[in-house]
Symmetry: C2
Subunit: 215 residues, 2 copies
DNA sequence: TAATGTTTGAAACACCTGTTTAACTTGGAG
DNA sequence: CTCCAAGTTAAACAGGTGTTTCAAACATTA
């Protein structure tokens, strides 16, 4: 068939390789040969390597955002939203959505890479396409932690984002250690259960003295 | 002079460029030309690009570990160590040591990159050269949080490591946002002041029900 | 001063990169 | 059956990569 599964095979292979080695370290030749697809297929179907990277992200983030936006909408209707509620919704969407199609740890590792590596175009892409959903989330977060100064909340969001992304992105290695050192087989659900009280406590930690503002 | 400053100039330039663009994205030609040094100098003085990357880290981490080990030694003599004490020592060493020679944010970004990017040789190098100091730290951490189950502490260490590394690795971008959105010029010292209570609270968060162990 | 070992310099090496080209195959509509 | 657009293929392109070579320049020792 002409309309074959070439696109999907490229996406699957690229996703796995990107997560394993990073973007710059993964060449189109490795992707296409492992996907059993011609080298030119990437440029034909996606246009460029950059566009392929973005497509890999979109395949995860689009369904996630759709689901998450629904949940946010129902939360926005409520008169009051607790921090625990909001975080629980976030955790549930994160776990449920990509579970239907792939490994969560792969996606998390990709997200971590996107933030640190390739500082340019990926950040811009994520901001442009998913910034609105993120803003919606932070608005609710503001309601559920009204006593926190805005700047303090801003930083804590990123602290916690780091905790999640970093842990998830080296999940396999950490899981191995947890198994051998503590005899614990950690499922994603267990990790989320561990993260929730930590993140909640972190967000509610006492506020230190403020740094001076720009006059 | 034969013993010129070539090595230092390479290290300075490589450090800045690695932090800015990542390891794979920074070529030896860019480094050497900006450092006003011959292309072959890197391979002559360091042996390879990998060795150069490791040398960049060693220049930061060696003095840090020396200082940190001293502090750890005096803590180990005490009969009791609180979590706040231990974290404060860690923060102080982190801030003070590299401040003598370069930007802390550069170093932190490098550390973040090392963990996410180039998963292979850098992780191994860090483990081999600085794993013992890390172990010493975690042993003290265990004493200062004795009520925490070992597995729980293990995961929380990595949550907090992620919070620090991730934030630091995208520090410049976050700092720009903090400045434009909250009119705050965040110095590294401010960030550390923000991190300390958050990390402390996170480590002391209530422990959720345990996941089942491998029989 | 002469010999020595270290450091630099320009060029080449072999290889890998993303992208483009143009010929070729193929599935489905008229 | 014909035709056309969509998809695939192998080859080439232009440029960048880390590394090596070997002669020249240099500082330091005898």
């Amino acid at each position: 068939m002409a309309q074959s599964d070439t696109v999907v095979r490229i996406l699957d292979t690229a996703e796995a390789l990107f997560a394993e080695k990073g973007f710059a370290e993964t060449s189109l030749r490795v992707i296409t040969s492992r996907a059993k697809v011609n080298l030119a297929a990437v440029n034909y179907h996606f246009g460029s390597k950059k566009a392929l990277i973005q497509a890999v992200f979109a395949r995860y983030l689009d369904p996630f955002c759709e689901e998450f936006n629904k949940e946010l909408a129902s939360l926005e209707k409520k008169s009051e939203v607790t921090l625990e509620e909001l975080l629980e919704v976030l955790a549930r969407c994160t776990v449920s959505v990509p579970a239907t199609k792939g490994s969560l740890s792969v996606f998390m590792r990709l997200l971590g890479l996107a933030y640190t590596q390739a500082q340019g175009h990926m950040r811009r892409y994520l901001q442009e396409h998913y910034g609105q959903t993120f803003l919606r989330f932070t608005n609710l977060l503001k309601l559920s932690s009204a006593d926190l100064p805005d700047a303090e909340r801003f930083w804590r969001i990123h602290f916690m984002l780091g905790a999640v992304v970093f842990t998830m992105s080296s999940l396999d290695a950490l899981r191995d250690i947890a198994l051998s050192d503590y005899n614990e087989k950690t499922r994603i659900a267990d990790l989320v259960a561990r993260l929730l009280p930590v993140v909640t406590a972190a967000m509610q930690a006492p506020v230190p003295e403020q740094p001076e503002l720009v006059h």
